[in-house]
């Protein structure tokens, strides 16, 4: 049952119904069950106020930015190149945006500059990884350190406060009783899921992550796919940084520290792998983030010691990868 791994992505065309069933069968199915259990625990332990609009707003606001960063970073995972620098890039993007807006520049212009910096960082990662053939984990670890150092070199004392009202309203507000930014995040997730599952380019990304040699033989440009995936990942992180400044009104030099591990833990719970490309679905990523956010929220509104949160997330992560392996995924030796 375990040793003969069935290929997760078959070239055979499948009916829509079959594919839907197939996806429920896979990681998305078990993560849906996990989410259902989480919600049930919340309902039983906390009571109906767990689903109160104010509580949904709290969860939505705190999960939305990590979700947007995660969905865009998942392209790199899917293409088989893990990008550890996203947490530092979120922080660095936020610092640049906050400091430049504080000087009085037009926020739109500054946002463009920040995204531009994201592109440069993504291209740098891509250049070393793809053209030199270096280990993605090592390169992006270096970038993580470098960007954190730059943030600390730029913000040496209390950072300026830049409350931008429209951005604050989008990142903290609600639309029709639902957190606006979460709606945007879910929208991005659905678009990404459609793109991955339904378009030829999306299938190319999966193919490159799954087996890059076979992909190359099939005439797909592995280089191009991976470069674009890494740029998308860094740009997503810089957008996350901008949104954090909107939400928090400022940016310290430690913003985003450790965010990459939180995001990848949630993505792995949702069926991605940081050590193997070609697997995972943005919908699974969304559900994974919701599970972690749900548990966080349950502990929070019960005013439970937050130290237990990381322990629970760690156990769920281990359980998720174990279940994935029983299904024939990611086996180590």
């Amino acid at each position: 049952m375990t040793t003969l791994a069935s290929p997760l992505f078959e070239d055979r065309p499948q009916s829509f119904r079959h594919r839907t069933l197939h996806s429920f069968n896979g990681p998305v199915g078990s993560i849906t069950a996990t989410l259902a259990v989480t919600l049930l625990v919340g309902l039983l332990w906390v009571g109906p106020e767990f689903f109160a609009p104010s509580n949904i707003q709290i969860v939505g606001v705190s999960v939305a930015i990590p979700l947007i960063v995660a969905v865009l970073a998942s392209f790199a995972l899917l293409a088989g190149v893990v990008d550890l620098s996203i947490g530092s890039m979120v922080g660095f993007g936020a610092v640049i945006f906050n400091q430049l807006v504080a000087t009085g520049l037009n926020p739109w212009l500054v946002a463009a500059i920040t995204i531009g910096v994201g592109v440069v960082v993504g291209l740098t990662n891509a250049f070393v990884i793809v053209y030199f053939g270096a280990e993605p984990l090592a390169v992006t670890l270096g970038m993580l350190t470098l960007l954190r150092g730059l943030s600390q070199a730029i913000v040496v004392s209390a950072p300026p406060t830049t409350l931008i009202d429209p951005l604050y309203n989008v990142t903290q507000g609600a639309l029709l009783g639902f957190p606006t930014l979460l709606l945007i995040g879910i929208g991005i997730t659905l678009v990404a899921a459609g793109f991955i599952g339904k378009t030829r380019v999306g299938r190319k990304v999966q193919a490159v992550g799954g087996d890059h040699r076979a992909a190359a033989r099939a005439g797909i440009s592995v280089t191009k796919v991976r470069v674009i995936a890494l740029v998308i990942s860094a740009v997503g992180a810089s957008i996350g940084g901008i949104l954090y400044v909107g939400q928090l009104g400022s940016a310290s030099n430690i913003l985003g520290t450790g965010l990459e591990f939180q995001i990848y833990a949630a993505l792995m719970i949702g069926g991605y792998s940081i050590t193997r490309g070609g697997v995972g679905n943005p919908l699974g990523g969304l559900l994974g983030l919701l599970v972690v956010a749900g548990i966080t929220n349950i502990l929070n509104i019960q005013f439970f010691d937050p130290d237990y949160l990381d322990l629970i997330v760690a156990l769920i992560l281990l359980a998720a990868v174990l279940v994935d392996r029983f299904r024939g995924g990611d086996e180590f030796e």
Binding site: T2, A5, G80, V81, T124, V128, I129, V130, F132, G133, A134, E135, P136, L137, A138, V139, L141, G142, M143, L144, T145, L146, L147, R148, G149, L150, Q152, A153, V156, D211, H212, R213, R226, F261, Y264, A265, M268, S273, I274, T275, R276, G277, D305, D307, Y308, L309, D310, L311, V313, A314, L315, L317, L318, V321, L322, R325, D330, E331, F332, E333
Partner: protein, 338 residues
Amino acid sequence: MTTSHLTPTDPVATKPDKPHISITDGRTFTSFRDAISITGVWVLLLAATLIARPDFLSNQTLLAVTFTMSISGVLAVAQALIVISGGLLDLSLPVSLTLSAWATVSALNAGLPTVLAILAGLGAGACWGLLNGAIVVFGKLNPIIVTLATGFGGLAIMLILFKSAQIPSTSALRAYGLGRFLGLPNIFWPMVITIILFGLALTYTRWGRRLIAIGGNARAAKARGLNLRRIRLATFTGSGAVAGLAGVLFSAVNPSFTPASGTGFQLIVIGAVILAGISLSGGKGNLLVLLLSVGFLATIPTSIAFFGLPPAWSLVFQGALLIIAVGIDGARLKRTSR
């Protein structure tokens, strides 16, 4: 060629392509080249700092660098053992470090003799390593993911266990941590001994050759009759004990620490291992080159201080160097495999 290093199940991984006959010669040559290039960059750094500050080369700089090297050097050995044996990476080393430091200090505070306290520290590290190894081996899970989770969870458990720990100021271990031998900090010597000992063991003992063999090609090693599970478990436990030694040294020089005190070592240790040319794909690595790379990385903060720059810049330089180093290493691999 770029990512398959990290995919142990990938049937078309690069490992089988490697020429097995010339592995020893090739490795010695690569190590030599790595050593030369690190020394070269190191000399450049020293020269640049010397031009700015002619008094850079002094006994004080030597003390600062050797002190900085000590704990990260021992941790780097622990990490290197995992990487060379094909265990990819151990992301929970900061937990091993503070857990064993806490065990040592608790034993001392309970009035146990120093020897037992040190054994408690080593034992705590070994147990932590064994736990990681057991999850990896019996769950057949990827070590990076396992240690990511245990790193998270372990820190959480420690935060529940204790808030801060202090070594008794009158203890012999504390006095050792403050002393010097042959003009260098006491804690520098256990690091040097650890590197030399494990360096020799890797090259000259059957145990070391097995470790390298399963790191280079686990399947072939298994086919040759090696017990993969046992070696993996032993490697994780042994590496944990080495991290435990780092914890003991850490407790001797840090009069007060918290569960999170180890987190600062994570990046610098992984950076040192990668810079030393110890590829994450496993099966290769020279610990003497590791000593060089630890020394080089430890020199950066001191140089930064001599230039009068804030310490944040040493992060920038260390990060940039890591990127450049793995880039060069990748390009070289790409060329030789063609």
